[in-house]
């Protein structure tokens, strides 16, 4: 599903690269944690997968698409294969919950009829069926992240990327979001989660890839959060 071959990324010409010769492979349907200190290159990896950035060298293949051969005009289509959520939720603050989720379908030209059917379904899946009229800024952090998840999933992407999705949440909400991600994975979506949450990583017993200063230092099935 996701393959990185000797991928390096430098933001500047001099100094150390944010990612240094990284290779990894993630199969369809896997659930993978990516952990590592702040500044180790995790978000850079996410941005490369979203084709927000291009690698300085190496090859990235996602869902059969070689990103180095992806033309500019094809990027939007490609991104529709990937749902993503972030630490800061990135919701539209001036619109309600329903509109935030519908937005994802509107901008990719889904017929209104389908939107009306899909959005409530997604909101039930993330456990917010009643809040569709609320403005997003009136919601708790946990609820906001659920809305973001609903938006990421409403277009049915085969891959979900989550960059520190629980970074702004209390332990209870963090657990609920992680459980939701696990449920989404169980339904067939390949899930990649960047996190600092040691407790959850150690409890969930998933594949854990540890990055340190731009290099993968450990990659284990049913792994644990590794400290220095």
């Amino acid at each position: 599903m996701i393959t990185l071959e000797n991928v390096s990324k430098s933001y500047t010409n001099d100094g150390t690269p944010a990612l240094n010769n990284v290779s990894l492979h993630i199969n369809k349907g896997e659930f993978v944690f990516i952990v590592g200190d702040s500044g180790s290159g995790k978000s850079t990896m996410i941005k490369l997968l979203l084709r927000e950035l291009v690698p300085s060298s190496g090859r990235i293949i996602v869902n059969g698409v070689d990103l180095s051969k992806l033309r500019r005009g094809k990027i939007p289509k490609y991104r529709r294969n990937i749902g993503c959520v972030f630490q800061d939720f990135r919701l539209l603050k001036d619109r309600n919950v329903y509109e935030n989720v519908a937005f994802a379908q509107r901008v990719i030209q889904t017929p209104t009829k389908k939107i009306k059917k899909n959005v409530p379904q997604m909101l039930s899946l993330v456990g917010l069926p009643e809040k569709y009229k609320s403005k997003t800024k009136e919601l708790s952090g946990g609820e906001q992240q659920r809305v973001a998840l609903a938006r990421a999933l409403v277009n049915n992407p085969p891959i979900l990327l989550a960059d520190e999705p629980t970074g702004n949440l209390d332990p209870r909400n963090s657990w609920e979001i992680m459980k939701l991600l696990e449920e989404i994975n169980r339904r067939g979506t390949t899930v990649l989660v960047v996190t600092h949450n040691r407790e959850i990583v150690n409890a969930m017993r998933k594949r854990v890839i540890t990055v340190k200063k731009g290099v993968i230092v450990s990659d284990e099935e049913k792994g644990e959060y590794i400290d220095d």
């Binding site: 979203l50 927000e52 500019r72 005009g73 990027i75 939007p76 289509k77 490609y78 991104r79 529709r80 993503c84 990135r90 539209l92 937005f103 994802a104 379908q105 509107r106 901008v107 990719i108 030209q109 889904t110 017929p111 209104t112 939107i115 938006r151 277009n155």
Partner: protein, 298 residues
């Protein structure tokens, strides 16, 4: 597709209201620009029209030395007719001249002159021009023709009118040009503001996989709408001003009626409306396009 177009248009509209002050300033500038354009256009068109009307009445009259025969005059007339700036040449015999003089100036008192023609020897050629600005050229030529005694022409009105109109065209083009540039600048700034305000939303759209079309169109529509509104307002204003001026002139400056010929509202506005609207849309398009190209790359 329908829902996307709906989204695109709705966002375009919303953008305008999201930064009201900038939108207002932009519409005001475009309005000023199109308003002046409309005024200048109507003025230049009407002056041009008046000149055209006047030109058909302005003639150069050539008188000949005694002894020049009618046949010779006809020959000279043919040579003049062959010139490019000349539209027609008419031979006026002494008796023709007298007849028209009687009609024009004497009326019923003409009876006393029965029998003899006081304008004997006044046979002449009346030359009508296609282009009044070439009049002095023609006069120079006529002065060189053998047998010509006198050349009457009234270059004053025609030339002044032509020059005034030319000046007016240049000045208006200059002012409208400057305002056009200012309008484009303001539109592109208003759109840039909109893009800055919606920076986050644009980022999200791109992540979700919105095409350039969907990301950019609202801003293009914003610019075009600003241009359209900015063009529509002054059109209405110029329309009312125009019909009022025509009416006022017709009532209060009857003497001018011969000199100043107004084109009908329909004639003026059948050109002005489409041109102004296209100008408005064009301004909006160019202004927003410049910004979008600069700031909205995926």
């Amino acid at each position: 597709m329908i829902s996307t177009l709906g989204y695109v248009f709705k966002q375009g509209f919303k953008n305008i209201f999201r930064n009201k002050i900038f939108s207002l300033a932009t519409v005001a500038t475009i309005s000023a620009c199109i308003f002046l354009f409309g005024l200048f256009y109507s003025m230049v068109e009407n002056v041009r029209y008046s000149i055209q009307k006047a030109e058909t009445n302005v003639a150069v009259t050539v008188f000949f030395n005694e002894g020049v025969t009618e046949a010779q005059i006809m020959q000279i007339g043919d040579a003049i007719r062959a010139r490019s700036e000349v539209s027609s040449v008419e031979f006026v015999s002494a008796s023709d001249a007298w007849e028209s003089f009687k009609v024009d100036y004497l009326g019923e008192y003409a009876d006393g002159y029965e029998g003899d023609n006081p304008l004997e020897g006044s046979e002449n050629l009346e030359i009508y021009l296609k282009d009044v600005s070439k009049q002095s050229e023609l006069v120079t030529y006529l002065e060189s023709v053998e047998g010509v005694r006198e050349i009457n022409h009234s270059d004053v009105t025609a030339n002044i009118l032509t020059q005034f109109n030319r000046l007016l065209s240049y000045v208006s083009l200059g002012i409208v040009g400057i305002l056009l540039a200012v309008s484009v600048f303001l539109i592109s700034n208003t759109v840039a503001m909109g893009i800055a305000v919606r920076h986050e939303e644009i980022g999200i759209m791109k992540l979700i996989g919105a095409t350039d079309f969907v990301v950019r169109s609202p801003f293009l529509i914003e610019g075009i709408l600003l241009g359209l509104i900015g063009a529509a307002i002054p059109l209405v204003a110029v329309y009312y001003i125009y019909i009022n001026i025509i009416e006022y002139a017709a009532q209060h400056f009857v003497i001018l009626n011969d000199l100043l010929q107004f084109k009908s509202t329909r004639e003026i506005f059948s050109v002005l409306i489409p041109v102004a609207l296209i100008l408005g849309v064009g301004l909006g398009f160019v202004g927003s396009f410049i910004t979008i190209r600069k700031r909205l790359r995926v």
